[in-house]
Symmetry: C2
């Protein structure tokens, strides 16, 4: 179907005066001599003026949100509030909507979140909701483009696995024919194996699954994980890659969507690379100056992170976390094994992601398994890759929905997820 | 770590004469006055000459495939068969390998496939095996780049679902807290819902899961599905997008890897757009001229496809398949409902992918469910999106591993899968 996007008409970029547009009849008003239709497509809205009586009869009782195509002439100097008008020559009804709608597209009062998620196909017709996913797509494109330029290979690791990444609970069981298997919590073990395989620098974008029992506005049971792993690299190297990837992602969003974001009152933060670094121990000192005492080895509470966030501003790294707070695969500092070559990337008080240099010595790895109460024999398929030539390596993993939630300052991670999966929700 | 890739030295693109290289000691030979090490990284191999006695002592009993870094001087006119040499000043042993290796990297006789898959971290150290995944990554980049230029939004739909896409068996059950759920076979229903949501044109790259009982060289139980869906489009529109996406993918592979592919005796076919089209019924006529009678409604057998493939050459579309051979969501031809607005993309005798215009009318959709023996109430979350303004739409879905297997003419789809999942294999 040859059609013109409404956005091109609004911006005066349509070819010619006669066009065919297609979309949803968001509003239909019958006046004495004319019927007005507000027509919406993915790029904007315009007013359709229907004067011909036969056409008016055809559309006068059309339900809102029906899908139509309209051929007509662009009105040269439209007075309508939408900024563009078409005088209709012909109208084709492509799919009639039922009435009433389960929720409105343009209601002054927003439906409750459950209703919105149950009717996501209507919720996303609101430009400010759809825009979140355009941002997510652009952000990801910017990150991928940067990683490709840096020589990364995009890989796909299995999501059905026999062993738990972090050995913990929080696993969804899968019946894999006669075997018991699980949904993978993270591609961590696989991307590390690929370092032993010599792929040098890999990234993966794919789903990860966590059977967390508690619903919060910040957690999903299924999310999109963006992971990298780099050989012959340490935590400093991959912090550099991370800050540049985020910076390029934000740049891409502004390039692709800048004007539209502003029009919807959405804003992306500035990312000035390099981001400041502060060690975990320095954080404790800063807090103690405010009279807050945190013992070495304790995690930082949301309130403490808020204080630090106020001081540090936008993006910053907290580095060198205690070993006790980090998973088995995190490399201890060679000089001081009670701390690790690790980092969290923060935006104000919020954690965007974490990463580290990894243990590459198989004996140290087995010790770390045992120290964390895990049985190395359960991870033989993984440790084996360390025994026959595993290079030093480092990496990070980033939840895409969480990143977008934080950058766009959304109140709930489900806003950045098309069809969220949580403690109770597995439909739609 | 500051290091130089071996590939840059081989191509004379290293900065300066003194370099640090890092990788795997593939071979170590002790001669009278010198020790030779064949050092391999992800970009190539070179010879390290170790003359200093202290260094020789340190590496003389080093196990093959140990990971080392070497600082030294590039030899100006190397006589070695590898094309580049370094005289070592210093050697750093980063991780010692155990011996013997579970399989060789450079053995004249290849290990059997099971051993290779069990030790994928060694198997992929062979450049011709790793290259398959570089091709996959480049191919995907080329396809994504084209789709982005065409205005597509990249999306992520849930993999844990409550309903079966095609209603069939072949589903892996997941225990989702107290609920029974499944791993999704395809993002089909979700990408269609997103058309009702007004996202206009979307694509997704993600895992899909099929609990097929039988092992074949062409099937995986978990694979990477590349899916698109386009609003206000029919099968012809998305065939155009498909042939261009494949064409751009192949172009990207040649751009990124052309010379290296040739060096490894791997070849990508030419893609001359537009690809020829032939209808299913025309295929039957062609076959009957060869004395082969296929009744309308029967699928084409591998032998019949081989005959057609010989006649049609490389890429071609078979269009307008019978309704009985297509899933419920396929749009019947409005003039002749016994055939559909559908297509398969073939490469010689092999099917790369299939796609179609979809049913958008909710009543027709319910009829099609019933005609296929499915209960529409099981799909209420999906049909609902059709009742309140679903535009006409079309799309396709493509298995990435299958595409790469076909284009590189690999004997088994597992060759194009890092860690395959099949009837018996869920590790590593």
């Amino acid at each position: 179907m040859q059609r013109t996007y409404i956005g091109d008409i609004l911006r005066g970029r349509a070819n010619g005066r006669e066009v065919t547009v297609a979309g949803w009849a968001q509003d239909i008003r019958n006046l004495k001599n004319v019927t007005f239709i507000v027509l919406r497509d993915s790029t904007g809205r315009l007013q359709v003026n229907v004067k011909d009586q036969k056409l008016r009869d055809a559309v006068s009782d059309l339900a809102r949100e029906s899908v139509i195509s309209v051929s007509g002439a662009i009105v040269e100097e439209p007075k309508s509030r939408l900024g563009a008008e078409i005088d209709a020559y012909s109208i084709n009804i492509l799919n009639r909507s039922d009435a009433p709608l389960p929720m409105g597209v343009d209601d002054p009062v927003e439906a409750d979140f459950e209703t919105r998620l149950n009717n996501r196909f209507i919720d996303l017709r609101k430009p400010e909701k759809a825009m979140i996913f355009r941002v997510e797509s652009s952000m990801l494109w910017g990150i991928r483009k940067f990683l490709k330029e840096q020589g990364f290979v995009e890989v796909h690791s299995p999501k059905i696995v026999a062993a738990a990444t972090e050995g913990g609970a929080e696993l969804f069981p899968v019946q894999y024919f006669e075997k018991k298997a699980y949904l993978n919590q993270s591609p961590q073990l696989y991307k590390e194996i690929l370092m032993s395989a010599g792929l040098d620098r890999v990234f993966e974008v794919g789903p990860a699954f966590r059977a967390e029992e508690h619903n919060t506005p910040r957690h999903l049971n299924e999310f999109t994980s963006v992971d990298i792993e780099v050989s012959f690299a340490d935590h400093e190297d991959v912090m550099g890659i991370l800050e540049n990837a985020i910076g390029q992602g934000i740049k891409q969003v502004k390039e692709d969507l800048g004007g539209e974001l502003e029009a919807l009152s959405l804003r992306m933060p500035e990312a000035r690379v390099p981001f400041p670094r502060i060690t975990y121990e320095r954080c404790l000192e800063e807090l103690s100056r405010d009279g807050i005492n945190v013992n070495f080895g304790e995690d930082l509470s949301p309130e403490q992170l808020r204080l630090l966030g106020d001081r540090m501003g936008g993006f910053y790294f907290i580095t060198k976390w205690p070993s006790s707070l980090r998973p088995f695969y995190t490399m201890p500092d060679p000089e001081r094994p009670e701390i690790t070559n690790s980092f969290d990337l923060q935006f104000r008080e919020k954690e965007i992601t974490s990463g580290a240099q990894r243990v590459h010595d198989p004996k140290m790895l087995e010790q770390r398994f045992r120290a964390k109460g895990l049985n190395p024999t359960d991870f033989e398929f993984y440790i084996k890759a360390f025994r026959y030539g595993m290079p030093p390596h480092a990496g990070w993993g980033l939840g895409l929905e969480r990143l977008v939630m934080i950058l766009l300052d959304l109140p709930n991670i489900r806003e950045a997820t098309l069809f969220p999966r949580d403690r109770t929700r597995v439909v739609p």
